[in-house]
């Protein structure tokens, strides 16, 4: 048995775009224990509901996280709409689904790039981000923003997308599909990539369930849990089926996310075919009185939104439970007993979003 040493990991670390700190207790080259500490990005934005009106709050909620910003805006709006009993028009629901799936594509492509960078495959990183720019172009054309859109509002949407743009979007997505197919072969077949990912950080199905893992992390371990099946948006109408892998290692998590990008393209194409004409928003009158909880599937997993109002224009309480928060115990579990060199891989494969976690 070797001597125990503690190696600090973060908050400022080349593989981490965001600050999180881990104390890695190691014996020789093996990690015995990982102690996470967070709090570098806590802003306390849930408290802002006391200062901002519930309609203005969408602007703040979207800024919980710049990667899944549309999803956060939608989750909050859905919670408020539920509490106020507002029925959102069909077209708005379809458009929200389309944007949310585009958000998932951009998030997963970003993650695939960071993963490639993490195992030292620089050109693969660049290719992933090059493809991602097409998604951002679609966002810019339809909403006006590249990463934060402010297009979702309580009662519907601020902007409509015309048929011509939707058609163009479909064409661009098919282009992405073709390009991504080439990269998929590299991610899944390349020997050096497989050496870094296969069999690393295995999380069994029982462990995933017990530790409450969510999103791709759980689905890679064979837990078929996806909140898109719970009926928000138009996923059920679009015939959504969750992507599940059973190996539970880094390779499986990478595979789940790759397959989800293709799935998102198919869902968007289907939604473009089915989208009905009509209004994109309903007028909202009155204030929130009562409480409501919604569950959404963000790119990183299940997020829960809670809103409670007492008849004034300010909400009384608003709460978000984000996916990374739920995945941290699973990450700590996979870190126990791993090689020190695999730590960046394991931290990356939960797709940590610290600014969601700490808000």
């Amino acid at each position: 048995m070797g001597k125990r040493t503690i190696i600090p990991f973060g908050p400022q670390h080349p593989v981490l775009p965001e600050p999180v700190h881990l104390d890695l207790v190691i014996e020789d080259e093996r990690v015995v224990e990982a102690i996470p500490s967070i709090g570098y990005i806590h802003r306390g934005l849930e408290k802002l509901v006391e200062k901002k009106e519930y309609t203005e709050m969408v602007y703040v909620i979207e800024r919980i996280c710049g990667i899944c910003s549309f999803g956060h805006g939608w989750g909050y709006c859905a919670a408020v709409e539920g509490a106020m009993d507002i029925k959102v028009p069909e077209r708005a629901e379809y458009l929200r689904t389309i944007w949310h799936e585009l958000g998932r594509m951009h998030s997963h492509l970003l993650w695939l790039g960071l993963l490639a960078d993490g195992f030292g495959f620089e050109s693969l990183f660049m290719h992933c981000w090059r493809i991602r720019e097409t998604v951002l172009d679609i966002f810019e054309e339809t909403t006006g923003g590249r990463v934060i859109f402010s297009v979702c509002k309580v009662g519907g949407l601020r902007k409509d997308v015309d048929a011509k743009t939707l058609e163009k979007m479909s064409g661009l997505l098919n282009g992405i599909k073709k390009e991504l197919q080439e990269l998929t072969d590299v991610f899944l077949e390349d020997r050096s990539v497989k050496n870094r990912l296969c069999g690393v950080g295995v999380l069994s199905k029982e462990e995933a369930e017990e530790l409450g893992a969510v999103g791709p992390m759980a689905r890679a371990s064979g837990v078929a849990q996806d909140m898109r099946m719970a009926g928000h948006g138009k996923y059920l109408e679009l015939g959504f089926e969750p992507v599940v892998e059973t190996d539970g290692d880094c390779y499986a998590r990478c595979k789940v996310r790759l397959r989800e990008v293709f799935q998102s393209i198919d869902l968007i194409n289907k939604a473009i075919d089915e989208i009905p004409e009509g209004d994109i928003a309903v007028p909202v009158k009155g204030n929130v009185d009562g409480e409501f909880i919604t569950r959404m599937e963000q790119p990183r997993g299940e997020a829960i939104y809670y809103a409670k109002g007492q008849g004034t224009k300010f909400l009384e309480r608003m709460r978000v439970r984000t996916p990374t928060n739920a995945n941290i115990p699973a990450m700590v579990k996979t870190l126990q007993g791993c090689d020190l060199a695999d730590v960046p891989m394991l931290v990356l494969t939960i797709d940590p979003c610290i600014s969601c976690t700490e808000r």
Partner: protein, 159 residues
Amino acid sequence: MSYVTKSPWIIHYDGSSCNGCDIEVLACLTPMYDVERFGIINTGNPKHADVFLVTGSVNEQNKGVVQQIYEQMPEPKVVVAIGICACSGGVFRDCYNVMGGIDTVIPVDCYVPGCAARPEAIIDAVVKGLGVLAEKRAAMEAKEDKAELAAETEGKQDE
């Protein structure tokens, strides 16, 4: 000693930003904008960096980290505050755990407003920062020359 004037190495730290500006900083380096073709590299080591890009505002927890990275960077150095949060706290300035912009803890040379700041704006700020870097370097060299001159004259007097 001659310095490379057009290819600064950058270091990026996320204060308490929402990621929006961070991914735009990374987007500057990737094929669409591709500043790496000018030799601008994102390094993880403060001791190798010339330009410090900070996104997000400061709070009690990360104040020390930001200061430490700044102090570890060799002179001359330039700080660029990216996004409205790093400039003033932005939409989060009323939050209880936000102390304000980056300039409350370290001196800032360039400000990039915007939520999220666009890659074009970030690149523009870094280019402006290069000007500041050149000025700082000139000032340092002038100071060194003066010190050398003083040492030389002192030496002559001794003879």
